[in-house]
């Protein structure tokens, strides 16, 4: 009975902790046993942070024994994507260039996890610097999808999603620049939220594309994800792009009152390219909402066809700048042989970065170059504004939008790695919400013929997390798609 707790939700784990059926330390022991058993197959983690986790568990157990108030997620094990800094632990971004880097400081989200006594069990694998949709671009290891070990977990937060799906942790944090939380949540059959841009501090998140990056939660159900979002959200003086408004109590959104809710399905994102089972699952989901009393309308984001192009110009332009600091001077990898400073830079970066990262640095550098700036970067910014306007217009008519999270389910490892464009197209449904800055999430909504999970994406207006969570929770209550992968 006790042993089953790691497969349960955070609220079940909390109950057991408060009832003293299990201690936080024991819960961690079970978690690490699970990791030890499943990690050789799944390979979710770049490193484990046992010392850190047990320290937090000790605080939790002390509080319980003293009968003190316990934060809602205290003692619930969490996997941290390895592009967020935790003091004195390895933070590699799954890159050779940061292979031995230990952060001297805590990311704001890590501070918040500590305040909430959420133990960080380890640093989860990702596509190098969060650049990818399958976690195959990691320099450290290839994470597998717990539902089928021959398939990718999605990316870039593949390690985080796989860890939660494989019950190696109850919760995880990921980062989402163009779908990096939602896509792996969809592929791994769990819940993943990309909050409104600025709702969660980016301080301590290794930047990929600053104007698009956002940290968000993974969990095996909507409630856990909502509570974790509540724990990490909020204004931060260390991030000037964070929103200076109070955080809503997301637990209050955990109700099924969706009567009269206007839900728009985006016609452009349910097109012929969509895998038939995915299309069917989405249509069934819409019916389910209708049955709950929501109103379904067709909506259009006319400029969605430009979103991939816009995204890959803006994201790579920012990335080319953000990754300039990895130069071998101050920390991280430095080439062994160089005769001059310039040669040291060139060799360090040539040897330290993987192919996809180099490809994006080159793309971004080109887009910002003198003579090309107006044609690429500036034009992309203008289109970004137009896409935002598209969203504003739609949200005048509906409360939420619904799309598949991804046109397909998880694909085979290696099947797309030689075709970057096919890989980029995986992001078609998720990218636009990053461009518009709006919140979006993925929840399980079915399985394909091979038993691979399908994700339903909900998109809300700026700071519309409560509506979005309510709709997600309602769907989850009315259906039964949240399953545990058999390993």
């Amino acid at each position: 009975m006790k042993d089953d707790l790691i497969f349960k939700t955070a609220s079940a784990q909390r109950k057991a902790l408060l009832a003293k059926e299990i201690s936080a330390k024991e819960l961690l022991d079970l978690t690490y046993e699970r990791i030890e058993k499943t990690e050789p197959q799944v390979e979710s983690f770049n490193s484990l942070t046992k010392e850190l986790a047990y320290e937090t568990a000790k605080c939790v157990d002390e509080k319980i024994s003293k009968g003190e108030n316990l934060p809602l997620l205290a003692g619930v094990p969490l996997a941290l994507k390895d592009n967020m800094c935790a003091k004195n632990s390895f933070t590699t971004a799954s890159s050779k260039i940061l292979a031995n880097f230990k952060s001297p400081y805590n990311a704001t989200v890590v501070e918040k996890l500590n305040e909430n006594l959420i133990p960080i069990v380890g640093k989860a694998n990702l596509d190098e610097f969060a650049m990818g949709s399958s976690t195959e671009n990691s320099a450290t290891k290839t994470t597998k999808n717990p539902w089928n070990l021959n398939k990718v977990p999605g990316g870039s937060s593949g390690g985080s999603a796989a860890a939660v799906a494989a019950c190696q942790s109850t919760l995880a944090l990921g980062s989402d620049t163009g779908g990096s939380i939602r896509l792996p949540a969809s592929f791994c059959g769990i819940v993943g939220i990309k909050p409104t841009y600025g709702r969660v501090s980016r301080y301590g998140l290794i930047a990929f594309a600053s104007s698009l990056d956002q940290i968000g939660p993974f969990a095996r159900n909507v409630e856990d994800a909502a509570l974790l979002l509540g724990a990490i959200a909020g204004h931060d003086k260390n991030d000037q792009t964070s929103i200076d408004l109070p955080v809503a109590d997301y637990s209050k959104a955990l109700n099924t009152d969706v009567k009269g809710l206007k839900i728009g399905f985006v016609k452009e994102l349910l097109s012929e390219g969509t895998q038939p089972e995915v299309k069917a699952a989405i249509e069934a989901a819409l019916k389910s909402y209708e049955a709950m009393g929501a109103e379904i309308v067709e909506v259009s984001i006319p400029h969605v066809k430009y979103s991939i192009g816009v995204y890959y110009i803006l994201a790579t332009a920012e990335a080319s700048s953000n990754l300039a600091r990895f130069d071998g001077v101050k920390y991280g990898y430095r080439t062994q042989e160089a005769e001059s400073l310039i040669e040291m830079y060139k060799k360090t970066r040539a040897e330290g970065f993987g192919d996809e990262v180099k490809r994006r640095i080159m793309l971004g550098t080109y887009a910002l170059s003198s003579g090309y700036y107006d044609a690429y970067y500036k034009k992309a910014q203008q289109l970004r504004t137009i896409i935002k306007n598209d969203f504003d217009k739609v949200f005048e008519k509906v409360d939420l939008m619904v799309t598949p999270t991804c046109p397909t389910t998880a694909f085979d490892i290696g099947s797309k790695s030689s075709d970057p464009l096919a890989m980029y197209l995986m992001d078609i449904c998720t990218i636009t919400s990053n461009l518009a800055g709006v919140p979006a999430m993925s929840i399980p909504c079915g399985f394909d013929n091979d038993g691979m999970p399908i994700g339903l994406q909900l998109i809300a207006p700026i700071l519309g997390e409560e509506t979005m969570i309510k709709a997600a929770y309602s769907f989850e209550q009315a259906n039964d798609f949240n399953k545990i992968a058999k390993l």
Binding site: T91, A93, L98, L205, S211, Q240, E318, K330, Y377
Partner: protein, 483 residues
């Protein structure tokens, strides 16, 4: 063959200056590190200034205030909207691989200042962060050095880059412009204005064209100009270099050149083709700045008297233009002068002391007036004693040094040392008579026509009275006794 002097007359010189002023904030522009100078390398650093993965800049509002204040002092417009951009290049002293600067929407635009009645346009002033410093082991420069150390104490220090219009026409004007800029930033308290220590640095854009030609000649940018002397010498050298090229039918190359102080020449650093493509783009980690009218008004209300206004006020008080200019050049002394100007019995005497003995003392000891023990009230006291005739000017000059060192009242020094003027004629007459009696030969010679010996008698009386006798009285009495 025409001499250089003749050739120079054929050409008009066109100069524009880019001056970097280091802003005197307590903390850096994008983090809370201190900005104090000369501390242990890398002791003024944090994950943010070290460019650690994941860090973000936090804009220091005090820097914006100083940017606005300087903009206003330079008669600039402060646009409602300004933003930060990333300027990208690789160098070991630039931790992030980019410098946060302002590209197309700077904090201040369209200003001007006056130098000697001529208006020099200010194109713009923008905020940015400074880079760190490299220390090359075993050599002055990177050449010949076996390794280099990076000190990031300075990285992130706020700078305001002030860009002039190409309105400057000579090395004298260039110097006058930088001097006035320095005065302004010092008086408004945003910068130390020290070229030698690097708190103010300037790059010179310079070209020549035959008189009457409308288009500008090709310009060269001169860097590493670290003093007013270097500025003038570099400009002079560059003017001649460019004129020679044009005279020989050549083309001036657009390039960046370094002033070499030791050799007294400029040397090519990089050409236009080698120039960096900085790939500027808007800094996504910082929100654009909306500067309200209220914000500008609040900053404006803290504006002190500017150098130009101060000079005019002094002139209105009766100072010569020259005196007004010279004292305003020394800010601490001028501010001290402001505290005595309305209290002192004779402004001119006070000014003479400040610009004469006091300035000499300050220069000798390499300090400013606030680092001495002299207070404005005590200087007023000294001038009063002189004006009332209690002490002579000579005695005044002696005791000012004591006052600078001890901070004592002039009156007390005079009393303690018995330095007041002997105003009793009979006492002086007695001394004078004694000297006349003791020097019969000189008296004979004087009376025989050697007029110059009169000075000898005056000197003897002065010596005997230790300088306390009124020279006019001595003159009168001696003339009478020797007639």
């Amino acid at each position: 063959m025409a001499t250089m002097e003749e050739l120079r007359k054929k050409y008009e010189v066109v100069i524009g200056l880019e001056v970097h002023a280091q802003l005197k904030t307590k903390s850096k522009i994008f983090c809370e590190d201190g900005t104090e100078f000369g501390l242990e390398p890398n002791s003024q650093s944090s994950p943010i200034s070290l460019g650690m993965p994941g860090v973000l800049p936090i804009l220091n509002k005090a820097v914006v205030d100083m940017g606005i204040l300087t903009g206003l002092a330079l008669n600039c417009e402060i646009p409602e909207f300004c933003k930060f951009d990333r300027k990208q290049y690789f160098y070991a002293d630039l931790p992030k691989g980019y410098q946060i600067s302002q590209f197309d929407k700077p904090i201040a635009i369209n200003g001007s200042i006056k130098i000697d009645g001529k208006t020099i346009g200010i194109t713009r002033a923008h905020l940015e962060e400074d880079a760190g410093k490299l220390v090359h082991a075993g050599a002055d420069g990177i050449a010949g050095s076996s390794y280099s150390l990076v000190d990031l104490n300075r990285a992130g220090t706020p700078l305001l880059e002030i860009v002039s219009e190409p309105d400057i026409r000579s090395s004298d004007e260039a110097k006058a412009y930088v001097e006035e800029l320095r005065n302004i930033v010092k008086y408004i308290g945003v910068c130390d204005g020290n070229l030698e220590e690097g708190s103010m640095r300037c790059d010179v854009n310079i070209s020549v064209r035959p008189w009457g030609q409308k288009e500008f000649g090709t310009r060269a940018e001169i860097k590493n100009v670290n003093s007013f002397r270097a500025l003038q010498r570099a400009v002079e050298f560059e003017i001649d270099r460019q004129i020679e090229i044009v005279e020989e039918g050549g083309q001036v190359v657009q390039e960046t050149r370094l002033w070499n102080e030791a050799e007294g020449i400029t040397k090519s650093m990089r050409s236009k083709e080698e120039a960096h493509d900085y790939r500027y783009f808007p800094e996504p980690d910082l929100m654009p700045l909306q500067i309200s009218k209220e914000w500008i008004e609040r900053v404006k209300s803290t504006m002190p008297e500017l150098p130009e206004q101060k000079r005019q006020r002094y002139i209105d008080k009766g100072l010569s233009e020259y005196d007004a200019r010279v004292i305003v050049e020394q800010m601490e002394t001028a501010l001290f002068f402001d505290q005595v100007i309305d209290k002192v019995s004779n402004i001119k005497t006070a000014l003479n002391y400040l610009m004469g003995d006091i300035t000499a003392y300050l220069k000798e000891n390499k300090i400013n007036i606030n680092e001495t023990k002299l207070t404005p009230e005590r200087l007023v006291g000294l001038i009063d004693l002189i004006e009332k005739g209690t002490i002579s000017n000579n005695i005044g000059k002696k005791i000012i040094t004591i006052m600078l060192e001890t901070g004592d009242h002039a009156k007390d020094i005079v009393e303690k040392q018995g330095l007041s003027v002997i105003s009793d004629d009979s006492a002086i007459r007695e001394i004078a008579q004694k000297i006349v009696d003791a020097n019969p030969e000189q008296v004979e010679a004087y009376k025989g026509g050697r007029d110059k010996l009169f000075g000898f008698f005056v000197g003897q009386v002065m010596k005997e009275t230790k300088g306390r006798a009124n020279p006019q009285v001595i003159n009168d009495i001696l003339k009478e006794l020797l007639s």
